[in-house]
Symmetry: C2
Subunit: 339 residues, 2 copies
């Protein structure tokens, strides 16, 4: 049963279990430092499909099927699938998963979706509403660029604070029982908006939300950054990560030594295309479902805070002069279950 801790955090007393996970990526992800941790890599960024949007749907479908295979399960064993993405009306998820026949809980948290899905699924499993679920999300550089910025053919220049949308999906199977890692705690984020209006500086727009959620979690649980092996944010990138350190220091909490960001892990640090880091729903999802959960599996990491961050604007809201609200959802993943 979930138990409320403080104002914002839930302790998941039954320690929902991550039974398997899989990551699927494209060419650029296959050239990055995490390539060996991916399950499927494809040099053809279209993944054999006719449009970028269909390619992104394919990424989700492949990630789910691979995770199910690794758990020895089929779609009919799964009670709920928690999914969402950045495309208008979340069509990567709805089209990618439509043939599976799994009850569909559509989520929207922009790039925070993977953490949102882990939190919501964790509550379902912890409460006995399900004993087998799937969480998945994705992004695709080409579908995101043309939807949010410019057609690729335009060859637009990118600013130093801009981030590179990851072409990848990450999916995992959550079960009631198992050998771990476990989802021990979850903090659903509040929407924070400090007035950032630059759509090419998502890291700055999301950092206040990350700081708020992290503070809520530390306050509710009485823990400190030193209680964890790693605090990993979704896709704050370089700019957003540094702002997060500053915001946390302002509240007297030093996280820099324990912190990394999925957007700084997936591509080589000297990749000039990437600018301030990687981003996209698929960034934190694929880094979690490749590198991070592998490192937990071999006990190099035992307790981590996985906090994906989302920028909640649209092209319309930005064109209308609105600032960019952010949200960050956090789950505490551990190799040790509650006793």
């Amino acid at each position: 049963m979930p138990t409320r801790l403080g104002k914002y955090t839930l302790r998941l007393d039954n320690s929902p279990n991550i039974a398997s996970f899989a990551a699927v990526g494209g060419k650029k992800e296959g050239e990055g430092p995490l390539a060996d941790f991916f399950d499927i890599l494809c040099d053809d960024t279209s993944f054999g499909e006719q449009t970028w949007e269909k390619a992104e749907s394919r990424l989700q479908k492949d990630a789910v099927n691979k995770a199910l295979d690794k758990a020895g399960l089929s779609p009919s064993d799964i009670q709920y699938i928690f999914a969402g993405d950045l495309l208008n009306q979340c069509t990567s998820s709805t089209y990618g998963l439509r043939d599976m026949g799994i009850p569909f809980v559509g989520l929207y948290g922009a790039c925070s979706t993977m953490a949102e899905s882990l939190a919501v699924s964790g509550i379902f499993v912890d409460a006995g509403a399900a004993d087998k679920t799937v969480c998945v999300t994705s992004s695709h550089f080409c579908s995101a660029e043309r939807q949010f910025r410019f057609p690729l053919e335009y060859g637009g220049q990118r600013t130093p604070t801009s981030q590179w949308t990851v072409t990848a999906a990450g999916g995992l199977v959550m079960t009631k029982d198992g050998e771990g890692p476990y989802v021990r705690q979850a903090t659903i984020g509040t929407i924070e908006d400090l007035g950032i209006k630059d759509a090419n500086n998502m890291g700055a727009a999301m950092a206040p939300a990350a700081a708020a959620t992290l503070q809520h979690f530390f306050e509710d649980t009485g823990t400190t950054p030193e209680s964890f092996d790693l605090i990993v944010t979704g896709d704050l990138g370089q700019v957003g990560s540094e702002l997060l350190y500053d915001l946390m220091r302002h509240d007297g909490v030093e996280i820099q030594k324990r912190h990394t960001d999925c957007g700084l892990l997936i591509y080589p640090p000297d990749d000039k295309d990437v600018k301030a880091g990687a981003s996209g729903c698929g960034c934190s999802a694929s880094v979690l479902c490749s590198y991070l959960l592998n490192k937990m599996g071999n006990r190099e990491l035992n307790d981590i805070l996985f906090m994906a961050t989302g920028a909640l604007m649209s092209t319309t809201s930005v064109q209308q002069g609105e600032s960019i609200p952010g949200v960050a959802h956090l789950v505490h993943l551990s190799n040790t279950k509650w006793q």
Copy 2:
């Protein structure tokens, strides 16, 4: 605690309570047969805002504030808000609710979002993960038309199967205890796609999903249409409702006498603009949070199945020649709690 019934349905043993509800609508909704049940009606479809999108955000904010007022609560009393909408990246919700400081669970189910939010919130409350939540969604004719179809200024002709997007929001407060109505059971829908490609015939695209969810619920619970005072779908309209009757008859279940559709209730039947009925996330949300919950309050209705339906396409997927997947989520609302 939620208890699984059959393959698709959850029994919410603690009977989460609907403590208050509110509906906000525009000029056309104020001229319809349900006008007296709305809490706030505004002749100015812009609701005093500068853009249609900001007007839609305002609808959500007003619906939540009104529902909170009626329950004697403030935003800081609420542990989670479950919200979503049809605008790209769900900005009606994220901008409308950003100042409230309530942990935000963003959902995407197209026009099924209100039922999805009731189901997910119901599970949270039933499991003890929360004791006070808010569910809200919205739609706006003008923001939807220009996003999904044509600029209003274009004056496009509408086909006989097309539906009129409702300008309204519905919001409610859910609590652990109270006098009812109660959320007794929930069935999360599967994605169904029978190949409908006409974006002006949403009813036909969604009817198979509605039939699947309803069949799942009846099978899992051993109930029949006669077990309920009313089976109310979200926005199938005339065309989709008749298809639903046919699909259910094909499986030997007759629902027509017990059935109505929110899309057929909110506007006068002889309104020629409306064509096959009303639609939009705000359609089922506002009809639930005005007419239906009022009728439950005065005991004219005691047990209803509220099943909102969503068409999960985008303009991009339709332009790429894709068919339109549908989903339908169902909650059983009752004036009697589980004993």
